[in-house]
């Protein structure tokens, strides 16, 4: 029977295989869990944190690499002479190195890196590294077409032109001008031997590479330098783990372990790191999550331990609903303000009052007083940040040194909205009425600013203004720099201060400045700003900036309203998380992140 043979054969094969398999030793086939690594100081193996983007360039000083996502990895993998805490104020890191002014005039500074501070490949960090940072920052080398050879994000060739003195671990250089922001301007950057060895792979030895760089710097060898600069400009760009470890040399607590494009970057403890606070997690992974809701659910699900975002009512409600997470409502660097245009023939221009500057000033002050700041905070911001407060100073972040004195100049504005409206009515009565409608610009489509406009219009109209909606989706007025005129009488938007640097205010406070869209012009302020440029001592800076603030208050230049609310939330398995309104945001004290028991 053919059929029977078939069946028996099939069965036979099956039985044979079953029997064979019965004899097999099985222990070496089943996978076993690998033992977990343990190190004495480290208390947890891994923490994962969210951010909306991840690193793609390891040279954050270059024009191409200068953005926030890059600076986060850079913050974990580098050490500097100073950093911002969450006050915010600048804190010196003396475990890494020190700096001092050796000659006050002309300003000469000396930076010294401590002994034993090394790159993650064991090469000492020394004066040669700072020499390359110097050459890049101050635009020392230029191409034939006068462009900078080192494409630094903010090259400043007018500040220092005399070659620095490099002596082992230290560098000393002289500024051509007394530069106010010298302290935040200079740091180490990427490793010199790394850039040189990438440009000239034949140079095998790190010390030789440093020596070659210093020689070329001293002799001004542009041809040799151009290859190094090329590497400095573009060689640090990498969307995945770079194949050459020189690209991601670390001088900080962590060193990059793995980078996956558009997905995550993992950083592992740098075994050579001894200078500075010791983190408590063996690894930090930064995961890319653009959407706030996704980041909240990821924390809820335990995939991510810390995340942050801009709160909306929905986002805040979701975060508050998390059973296993804590959150902190904080502030962001951006702050909302209303600027008034004084040179476009509108109600805030003296020309509308027969050239009477005092009348225009009173009208400006009346308008600023009529802005219901208390109501805006209570209705729009407090629901998102219960700790929100009114900001009343143009140049000072609330909490920063000098804010309280600056606020005092605005004493007239500090009453309740109702009191302010009465003052505004009185001022308008003194002048005898407002000449012209107030054309008010806000970015069309921005819901919060639309609501702010409604509140402002209601309040300002009640004291005698006629506020007209001039909202547009684009920011056309920002392209009109003096002598072109801003067509809007009042604009509301936010400035974002990204550092505590004191220079740069001339961009919007002097006539012709690239961000001066109000036509504001005050000779005293211009003179003070000029003086500020060269005020090296901190006390002088504060005195001058307060004087400027007093002038701004007196001129009814503008009114600031609130810091943008920020929100940071984290799983209860970690403690010590704290937000910061400046870059690097909540990452600023990553060494304090501590795993909680249980």
């Amino acid at each position: 029977m053919k059929k029977f043979r078939g069946i028996s054969l099939v069965a036979g094969v099956g039985i044979l295989a079953l029997t064979l398999s019965g004899c097999a030793p099985t222990e070496d086939l089943t996978p076993t869990a690998s033992p977990t690594e343990s190190t004495a100081e480290v208390t947890a193996p891994l923490i994962t944190v969210g951010w909306n983007d991840i690193i793609d360039d390891f040279n954050t000083s270059s024009a191409a690499g200068n953005n926030v996502a890059n600076s986060l990895t850079s913050y974990l993998t580098s050490s500097g002479f100073n950093y911002y805490d969450n006050a915010p104020s600048l804190v010196k890191n003396t475990d890494f190195g020190s700096y001092e002014i050796v000659v006050a005039d002309p300003l000469t500074v000396k930076y010294t890196i401590n002994d034993g501070v090394v790159w993650s490949d064991g090469t000492p960090i020394d004066g040669a590294d700072m020499a390359m940072a110097w050459a890049a920052t101050f635009g020392y080398f230029k191409n034939a077409d006068e462009s900078y050879m080192f494409a630094h994000a903010a090259p400043k060739d007018n500040l220092a032109s005399k070659l620095p003195t490099v002596d082992g671990n230290s560098i000393t250089f002289e500024y051509d001008v007394q530069y106010v922001d010298w302290e935040t301007q200079f740091g180490v950057g990427v490793a010199t031997h790394g850039a040189v060895q990438m440009a000239y792979p034949d140079i095998a030895d790190a010390a030789a590479a440093k020596a070659a760089f210093l020689d070329a710097l001293a002799s001004g060898d542009s041809e040799w330098m151009s290859k190094v600069a090329e590497v400095w400009n573009t060689g640090y760009s990498s969307t995945n783990t770079p194949s050459n470890p020189l690209v991601y040399l670390s001088s900080g607590p962590y060193v990059l372990e793995e980078l996956v494009e558009e997905s995550y970057a993992t950083h592992v403890l740098n075994p050579l790191y001894t200078w500075g606070p010791k983190p408590k997690y063996e690894r930090i992974t930064i995961r890319q999550i653009a959407d706030s809701t996704a980041a909240i659910q990821a924390v809820d699900n335990g995939e991510v331990q810390i995340a942050s975002g801009q709160p909306t009512a929905d986002v805040l409600a979701l975060v508050q609903g998390l059973a296993n997470a804590e959150y902190e409502s904080g502030e962001e660097a951006a702050y909302e303000h209303v600027d008034l245009t004084v040179n476009n023939g509108g109600p805030f221009d003296p020309a509308s009052y027969g050239g009477d500057a005092e009348k225009a000033r009173k009208i400006r002050q009346a308008f600023l007083l009529s802005i219901p700041r208390g109501e805006i905070i209570d209705k729009l911001i407090k629901p998102l940040n219960p700790n929100a407060r009114v900001r009343t100073a143009v140049q000072f972040i609330p909490g920063a040194n000098g804010y309280d004195q600056a606020e005092a100049f605005y004493a007239d504005y500090l009453g309740t909205d109702e009191e302010n409206r009465e003052k505004a009515k009185a001022l308008i009565a003194e002048v005898g009425g407002v000449n012209g409608d107030v054309g008010f610009w806000y970015p069309e489509g921005n819901v919060r600013r639309g609501q702010e406009f409604e509140l402002i219009k209601l309040s300002a109209d009640s004291v005698g203004f006629n506020v007209v909606d001039e909202s547009e989706p684009d920011w056309a007025f920002t392209e009109k720099v003096y002598p072109e005129l801003n067509p809007h009488d009042a604009v509301i938007f936010a400035w974002a201060a990204t550092s505590l640097a004191v220079s740069g205010d001339d961009q919007y406070l002097t006539l012709g400045g690239p961000s001066n869209w109000t036509g504001y012009d005050n000779a005293n302020v211009a003179a003070l700003l000029e003086e500020l440029q060269t005020a090296v001592e901190v006390e002088d800076q504060l005195r001058i900036r307060l004087a400027i603030e007093a002038e701004l208050a007196k001129d009814a230049y503008n009114i600031t309203i609130f810091q943008f609310p920020g929100l940071t939330w984290w799983d209860k398995s970690v403690s010590g998380v704290s937000s910061n309104l400046l870059v690097p945001y909540f990452y600023w004290n990553f060494w304090d992140w501590t795993p909680t028991a249980g």
Binding site: K2, T48, T266, R287, Q297, F493
Partner: protein
């Protein structure tokens, strides 16, 4: 044929050119890419603005800038693409960004598309066969609901219930008696609806399926299977037998004794291969092991079919080969699931495994173990795949139902029945194949749409594919990035259309392209 393709491609080029011009202008005039930076008080902001204006040629009016972009894009024809840099993505090269995003989007949509087609066609065609039954109405009802659901809402809900709550449930996966009874009753109702028939059959299928599902859930409770799921020897045999049944139904039918015996034997053989398989995976690491396993099982099936198939040996060999390949896949899955507890130990989710963001877990990628990577892919793909499937399955169900209904009313079906062919043969051989023709063209067209159409799914699941690029590009008025996206999705749409047309003509001899 060739001239038809060439003509179509030429027309395509013109369409792409005009469309790219329009998209470029619309994106460029939609805002100022540097608006965010203009409001920065960074002292160095002016040099940054100058640098970006220079890199993005912002001083050139969009009408002319388009031709600069076109020049760079034309380089793609000679292998030197220059699509500019993206301001939204940290000044990265658009070509590089697109390459990465393409890969991850394909990864996301491949599984979802295949499963949607399988499930959608199966459900759609069974509803057509049970037209106007309770099952049909129920499926129709849910198809319309799912079809009209907003996907961002589905996705967020899926994450809440499918991931966060399900993961918590997995900390102690025990069904309470109430849940158990309710679920069993529900499943029994569903099965009864599908099976249909007279009152007696309905009562019988209700009781059997209700008791069976209740028993399975009790077993899950007792063994805590959900905590550390595995297939095991018994599971492999049972699953292969189920597959054998389905394949038999679709190919030779249960009438042929030889086919039934050989194909059922595959279940036994798969069980016998269970332990040798462990050796195979131990010595043949990586994808070679997986391919080898599937190939070996398929070859066993084909050989058995050819040796003992008798008169219908080619047909049986084919069916047995398919069963063999699938049983190989089951063995592969079984092997991966043996790494389950190791996997759970390596991820940071406290209980459970379902992931809500991204495509990989960093700790797993570092292990560099194929089986752990497979499990990790599964844990990450399950939710976005479900979200994408919910909508496309609903669509395919409707198409498949309509298509099969139309075919079933054709004359040649009546002829086939009149010849005395069994209903199974009429449906599978005569109706099913013809009903698939219009669906095949829809599928070709759908895939091209999915490449760029998963924007919301990608955003909600933090999946960095084409959709994420597009929304980042729009958010930052990043013309280069939006154009890169447009170029790829536009090409896919056009090619998808062409493929759909060609497919139609090759599947249906009545249609000729010329």
């Amino acid at each position: 044929m060739l001239s038809f393709i060439l003509r179509r491609l030429a027309a395509t080029l013109v369409v792409l050119l005009v469309a790219s011009f329009i998209v470029y202008q619309l994106t460029a005039i939609s805002g100022d890419p540097l608006a965010e930076l203009r409001a920065s008080r960074d002292p160095d902001i002016q040099s940054k603005l100058a640098y970006l204006s220079d890199v993005l040629d912002l001083d050139t009016p969009p009408l002319l800038r388009y031709f600069l972009w076109l020049g760079g894009a034309a380089g793609c024809l000679v292998g030197q693409c220059d699509l500019g840099v993206s301001i939204a993505k940290g000044q990265g090269e658009v070509t590089e960004l697109l390459a990465g995003a393409m890969m991850s989007t394909l990864q996301l949509i491949t599984l979802a598309t295949i499963l949607s087609i399988l499930v959608g066609v199966a459900v759609g065609m069974t509803t057509a066969l049970r037209q106007y039954s309770g099952y049909d109405y129920t499926v129709t009802f849910f198809a319309f609901i799912f079809y009209s659901l907003p996907i961002f809402w589905v996705a967020v809900l899926l994450k809440e219930y499918g991931a966060i709550r399900f993961n918590r449930f997995l900390a102690d996966p025990t069904f309470t008696p109430v849940t158990l009874t309710l679920v069993a009753l529900f499943l029994a109702l569903v099965v009864t609806g599908i099976v249909g028939g007279g009152l007696k059959t309905r009562v019988r299928s209700f009781v059997v399926s209700g008791v069976l599902s209740g028993a399975i859930m009790t077993w899950l409770n007792v063994t805590q299977w959900l905590k550390t799921p595995s297939i095991g020897l018994v599971g492999v045999v049972l699953l292969t037998l189920v597959v054998s049944g389905i394949i038999l139904l679709l190919t030779t039918g249960f009438g042929q004794k030889r086919a039934v015996i050989i194909i059922s034997a595959m279940g036994l053989i798969a069980g016998a291969m269970w332990l040798p398989g462990q050796y195979l995976f131990f010595y043949l690491t990586g994808f070679t092991g997986i391919i080898a396993m599937i190939a070996i099982m398929a070859i066993i099936g084909i050989t058995l079919g050819l040796l003992f198939g008798g008169d219908a040996k080619r047909e049986i060999a084919r069916a047995a080969g398919i069963v063999g390949a699938i049983s190989g896949l089951i063995l592969v899955i079984d092997e991966a699931m043996q790494y389950w507890s190791q996997y759970l130990g390596l991820i940071s989710i406290k209980s459970g495994f379902v992931s809500t963001i991204g495509a990989v877990t960093p700790t797993i990628k570092r292990q560099d173990n194929l089986w752990l990577t497979l499990l990790d892919n599964y844990a990450h793909l399950i939710l976005p795949t479900a979200a994408l499937m919910i909508v496309s399955v609903a669509g395919y169900t409707r198409y498949a139902r309509a298509s099969l209904l139309e075919v079933m009313n054709q004359d040649y079906i009546r002829t086939a029945r009149a010849k005395g062919l069994s209903e199974r043969v009429v449906v599978v051989r005569h109706a099913f194949r013809n009903a698939m023709i219009p669906i095949a063209t829809i599928i070709a067209f759908d895939i091209s749409g999915l490449i760029g159409g998963a924007i919301i799914t990608e955003r909600v699941f933090a999946w960095e594919g084409m959709g994420a690029l597009f929304s980042a590009g729009l958010g930052h008025v990043d013309v280069n990035l939006v154009m890169g996206f447009f170029l790829i999705t536009g090409l896919f749409a056009v090619v998808g259309n062409l493929v759909a047309d060609l497919l139609y003509s090759s599947l249906d001899p009545r249609i000729r392209v010329s």
